[in-house]
């Protein structure tokens, strides 16, 4: 397989990754194209296909960050506020006035999470749950978990406070957890 052929074979995964981050199919296409151009220009001898893929992905990651910077507003700050209000209402409803879980909402255990990671169907659900996060909350989560940016970098990029960042990530994790529980693990036994 020639290098260009190998690069072409990565296209679905590169595109998926870019779409998850950017939530814009057109922009994702552009970024993947730019990645191919950069990869072809700078290609070296790779011992294996795996190494080439990892290297190509690191180019893609940087292109995604550049694309986020160049967009007028990566994160719609007022939309974030709306997402926050909607979340707070739902979140608060899970707790008693004193801040403890309401009996029906206390998290139960999940059956065999380790085994779950081996199941192909789970990853389809996981992907759907990632996409189900409110758009702006999801983007922040992606920056943290998939682009491996640290909190300072995210705050600097988006011009939000550290505390705001923590709150958004909490919201994202809570939302993702809830989605997986509803769609995969099922409501566990709530016991005090």
């Amino acid at each position: 397989m020639t290098a260009p052929d190998q690069l072409a074979s990565f296209r679905p995964d590169l595109l998926r990754f870019a779409q998850l981050q950017l939530r814009d199919d057109g922009l994702a296409e552009d970024v993947v194209q730019e990645t191919f151009i950069a990869a072809l220009a700078g290609i070296q001898d790779f011992a294996g296909r795996a190494a080439l893929k990892t290297w190509t992905f690191s180019i893609l990651r940087n292109k995604i960050i550049d694309a986020m910077r160049m967009r007028d507003r990566t994160i719609n700050v007022s939309a974030l506020a709306v997402e926050e209000d909607e979340f707070e209402e739902i979140f608060d409803a899970l707790f008693k006035a004193n801040g403890h879980w309401l009996p029906g909402h206390q998290p139960g255990g999940w059956a065999d999470p380790e085994a779950t990671l081996e199941q192909q169907q789970f990853w389809t659900i996981f992907d759907a749950c990632l996409n189900h996060l409110p758009a702006n909350t999801g983007r922040v989560f992606m920056m943290r978990e998939f682009l491996d940016l640290d909190i300072e970098e995210i705050c600097a990029e988006l011009k939000i406070s550290t505390n705001n960042c923590y709150v958004i990530l909490h919201r994202a994790r809570h939302g993702l957890r809830g989605c997986l529980e509803r769609t995969w693990f099922g409501a566990g036994e709530g016991s005090c």
């Binding site: 990565f10 995964d13 998926r16 990754f17 294996g48 296909r49 795996a50 893929k53 990892t54 992905f57 979140f91 707790f95 004193n98 801040g99 403890h100 879980w101 206390q106 998290p107 139960g108 255990g109 999940w110 999470p113 990671l117 990853w123 996981f126 992907d127 943290r144 978990e145 998939f146 909190i151 960042c165 923590y166 709150v167 990530l169 909490h170 994790r173 809570h174 993702l176 957890r177 997986l180 529980e181 566990g188 709530g190 016991s191 005090c192």
Partner: protein, 65 residues
């Protein structure tokens, strides 16, 4: 004493920053006595694992060829 609501925030933040000793102690104590939050904590850890593995799948870190 930490409430469950506060605990969920600390659980999430523990993945983004180092908790202060007092925070670790408060959270640790709360998790000892609250099974709901213990489950929540486990599930957030699982989420992190799932994200890592999903990233690896897309990146081809486990590419057999």
């Amino acid at each position: 004493m930490l409430s469950c609501k506060e605990s969920t925030h600390l659980i999430s933040e523990s993945h983004d920053r180092t908790l202060a000793i007092t925070e670790k102690l408060s959270l640790g104590m709360h998790l000892l006595i609250c099974s709901g939050c213990r489950h929540y904590h486990e599930q957030i850890v699982f989420l992190e694992q799932a994200c890592d593995q999903y990233k690896a799948k897309l990146n081809g870190d486990r590419d057999p060829s």
